[in-house]
Symmetry: none
Subunit: 137 residues, 4 copies
């Protein structure tokens, strides 16, 4: 696997994206790995009586898509993840296709720091907004 | 499952924790669900030549433990996750036991907002620090 | 588990089969294990705009069913898999039941080599055709 | 996700690769999805008495890495997989890091057909050799 973009090959405004349809199986496995058995995610009866009317995906699953886009595409393999801010704006439902876009906001060439705007959306509506701080050695 | 703590049953300083040993299988499954095949996580040869000398867990896996502790313990079932700040301080290696502690920093009874300090540590060393903003209706 | 058929218990024309309904969870897990996040498999919106109109299973999942039929049934446990030719003829959709049939084409008793015709079909239509070369010590 | 390389952006000799360490969890999940419970893969006692002395990965798991490299890298997203020849040369053991390389052998611009040499190796030794036939519309 290549080492992705080097610090001088990137520029502010550059972006990358990936999309994935969230399935029931993804939620089951995410719950199993993290231990997050919030009934909103795994109890269909509880969820039916909740404000969202059905089971929703873990917010951190979408955060995982941000991590994936950073690691696989921009800045790409070799990136060190320093921090992430997340604002959960709306739920992701089973069968929603989540589009994750990361866009470079600033580059500090000396310290090798790249800050990216990170957004997950479903059908054009933002479900998760935030900012990633990364280092690309 | 109970509906966790109501807003007037919680107080600043209150905390809850969970611990989980991170296995190779957790990393494999987390990669599979999120699509984050960063070689730092799934390529032992690449990882051996990296600054960490071996494969490391996804940072968002530890973030998932924070989400789990919030959802399962404090504020507990029924909590709505509004936001999370994450600072990745050190890597989590295969077989590390991650202890996640969430501690209430502030409570806004009117708006039902509970802010928590969130920390993941391995053998007493912080690997992930941050702050969660939640609502408990 | 038995050691399957020995070389002198098999004959040309002998066949075995297995059938499995392909679920969304199978596709999610196959993508997760192999790293094949081809949008044709995991992005329902992309797939809707594609020539197949919906998500399709990985061709290698059906190839895995051939491997399973060889390993479990004919020649059965103890078989060494030497090679496989695969022609992907048509897509497998979620909820399709794939029937895999392996039929012995030739037996070389001296070299212990068994060649099998291998076919996967959905509702009588071939989706994957090919030939397996195996050794049964 | 981009649509990978178009037919006129590729040339004979061009190659792409990915690497993944094969874990016990990968083998367990691959067995579960395909139904290939060959004792060579899932029965450590049987495997200890076999010619390979320990459990080996499914050959079709490595074939899945070829599919992944074709789908994700070269020719990349949008590729239609027409066929694959596979020769299993040596076993893949748990903890082996499999490097998959695909290299373009021929391009038929009129029919949009791209044929690739496909090789999986462990520590420089070929474990799986073969040839893929793809179409890039």
């Amino acid at each position: 696997m290549s080492d992705g973009y080097s610090i001088d090959e990137m520029e502010v405004g550059q972006s990358a994206s990936m999309s994935k349809t969230v399935t029931e199986a993804d939620i089951v496995m995410f719950a199993g790995v993290t231990g997050d058995f919030n009934p909103a995610h795994i109890d269909a009866e509880y969820a039916a009586a909740s404000m969202f009317k059905e089971r929703i995906a873990h917010g951190m699953l979408s955060a995982g898509f941000i991590s994936a886009t950073i690691a696989m595409k921009l800045p790409g393999p070799g990136t060190i993840y320093l921090g992430q801010q997340l604002k959960f704006k709306a739920p992701v439902l089973i069968n929603d296709t989540v589009k994750t876009v990361v866009t470079i906001k600033s580059i500090d060439e000396k310290r090798k720091i790249v800050v990216l705007d990170t957004t997950c959306s479903v059908a054009g509506k933002t479900v998760l907004a935030g900012e990633a701080t990364t280092m690309k050695p």
